[in-house]
Amino acid sequence: MECTEIREIISAYVDGEASPEEARRVEEHLGSCAECRSAEKRMRALGVAVTRTEGAVPHDFRENLFARMEAEDLLPKRRSIFVFSVRWAAVPLAAAAAMALYVISSREAPRELSSTAVGPPRVASEMPGPGTTSPAVPGKEERKTQVVANGGKLSPEDREIVANLEILEDPDLFDEPQIDEMEIFVPSSRRRG
């Protein structure tokens, strides 16, 4: 076969598109024709050149494209971050709300306290020793006496702290029913006990 006739078949052969019969004829011709072997090499080199010719991808290409698509209503927008944070902030938000209710309610309960006491209020009493019958937490009257004995000079803020500490030590002082904050956001089905 003449070289000029087979060159187009060699081109298809290089691309893997020659039929089995065509491939056989090409390989047979290449075996005896140096010029066509050289032509085959050059054709393959052009294929490599094509693959090595690449455009650059700008760093903002995606951003610009998606902005244009959103402007044309071709791309649904991402969900609002606010929705995301509400879902994940439910637990701490509920806890914060419970604490706020607790503090507000404790401030509304009337309490009697000497305004002349100074110094840090007692937070915890000594642990009762074996055989003793004294309570772990001193009674209300005893605590008041201790506060008065410290000099009786409390600022309004100190009085507030003392009032809240008394409630924490003795839940009976709190008129509202005891609330388990965890019940607010833990489903009953998951609770233990």
């Binding site: 060159r7 081109s11 090499k41 054709m43 080199a45 052009l46 490599v48 455009g55 650059a56 290409f61």
Partner: protein, 194 residues
């Protein structure tokens, strides 16, 4: 999600309103679209504009996509038509500007020491920057139909049959165009051999 979704499945999801599906399609194909546009237009800026337009057209035409055809075949049909528009705009503006001009009206790559025919070993040839630029310029000098056929097959990996679908021609016509593109490129590149 079990396994990777096909392009056709992603298109269907996108048509139903899934942004993630389109983002996945974009991630899979944006590089090849940019490369194709660059090879077709020979210019980075024009390639970026064309590539953006390709994806916009894909999105606008999503309702017309038929999953019976491969997504990439449909995508390259859009890509080729899009780049044609950019090439037509260029022709209306006047003569093509050489990629590199040394200020004297001649191609700066003239006289470039390219390897001789006996050295065209595809594994050993050194495609340096100058050679790449000369090659890109030579591509732009091909008739668009020949350039498209060569780039879709050699650059994008489409079979002759798929190229025929994209270009709406016969397989024999694809075979002939690619052969003539090769002949023209070799003639142009060989002309600057020292």
């Amino acid at each position: 999600m079990d396994g990777m979704r096909t392009d056709a499945e992603l298109m269907e999801l996108y048509r139903r309103g899934s942004r993630d599906a389109f983002e996945e399609l974009y991630a899979r194909h944006h590089r090849r679209v940019i490369h194709f546009c660059y090879r077709m237009t020979g210019d980075q800026a024009r390639a970026e504009e064309a590539a953006q337009e390709v994806f916009l057209r894909i999105a606008r035409a999503a309702s017309t996509y038929q999953p019976t055809a491969r997504f990439t075949t449909w995508m390259y049909t859009i890509a080729r038509r899009t780049t044609l528009n950019f090439l037509r705009d260029e022709k209306e503006d006047g003569e093509k500007v050489p990629i590199h001009d040394n200020g004297e009206g001649r191609d700066a790559a003239e006289g470039l020491p390219l390897p001789g025919p006996e050295e065209w070993d595809p594994e050993r040839i050194a495609w340096g920057k100058q050679l790449k630029e000369k090659f890109l310029e030579a591509l732009q000098n091909l008739p668009e139909g020949h350039r498209s056929a060569l780039l879709l097959n050699r650059g994008e990996g489409l079979s002759y049959d798929e190229v025929a679908t994209v270009l709406n021609i016969t397989v024999q016509a694809v075979k002939s165009r690619i052969f003539r593109a090769r002949e023209a490129l070799l003639a142009e590149l060989s002309g600057v051999l020292k």
